[in-house]
């Protein structure tokens, strides 16, 4: 049953587009509340032009969330002593600050120098400044731990 005001969408494929393309075809069926002054009180079904949307997003590689073993090679015994480790922070997630604090202390105890960098807005003048700072940040570190961790 279609609720009032709802537009029914079907997913499926469209000729000429492969299975990787996320395609949504719109079924132009809309149920509307009775208009003011319509004494019949009956909901009406109206039609709309049909269209489809191609999603530009690629199909993600399916990996199990807990399958951490696929994410990196086995440790090779990297010595962190003297390494400059950048940690990217943001202004949104205090939990990530706490995580980063704990990890920074441990990495420091292993001889690494922690280089924190906190991002700001990505638009306007501040966004331009963030772009410059990001380039400087990457150039300034040996490796980076890039968090969002929301």
């Amino acid at each position: 049953m279609v609720p009032h005001g709802a537009i029914v969408l079907r997913t499926g494929s469209v000729n000429g587009h492969g299975p990787d393309a996320a395609v949504t075809s719109g079924v132009a069926s809309v149920r509307c509340e009775p208009s003011i002054g319509d004494e019949s009180g009956a909901a009406r079904e109206k039609t709309m032009a049909r269209g489809f949307i191609l999603s530009p997003v690629g199909r993600p590689r399916m990996v199990a969330v807990d399958d951490r073993s696929t994410a990196a090679e086995e440790p090779t015994g990297v010595d962190l002593s003297g390494r400059r480790i950048g940690i990217r922070l943001d202004q949104m997630w205090r939990s990530w600050d706490w995580i980063a604090e704990v990890w920074s202390a441990e990495l420091s105890s292993r001889g690494a120098e922690i280089v924190p960098w906190r991002t700001g807005s990505r638009s306007g003048d501040e966004g331009a400044r963030m772009e410059r700072e990001l380039v400087e940040f990457v150039a300034d570190v040996d490796l980076a731990v890039v968090g969002l961790a929301n």
């Binding site: 440790p75 995580i99 704990v102 890039v146």
Partner: protein, 68 residues
């Protein structure tokens, strides 16, 4: 590691793992070493979050190539 590029480890929560994979793939950076933390994280008490940080520290070190 390719000369001129820096090693990086991304950190996200379970909820955003697939998005992170997709973004990394779109940028040609797959596989991207990624530490995946429990979700939600930001609603947890500070002490619990810090404990999670301790629990996942070995994972971070492994991603960095450090033998714990």
């Amino acid at each position: 590691m390719v000369a001129g590029l820096k090693a990086a480890v991304a950190v996200c929560t379970e909820q955003f793992r697939a998005l992170g994979e997709t973004l990394a793939m779109s940028a040609g950076r797959q596989p991207l070493p990624m530490v995946t933390l429990p979700y939600p994280l930001d609603t947890r008490p500070e002490a619990e979050v810090r404990q999670i940080a301790i629990e996942y520290l070995p994972e971070l070190l492994r991603m960095l190539g450090v033998k714990a």
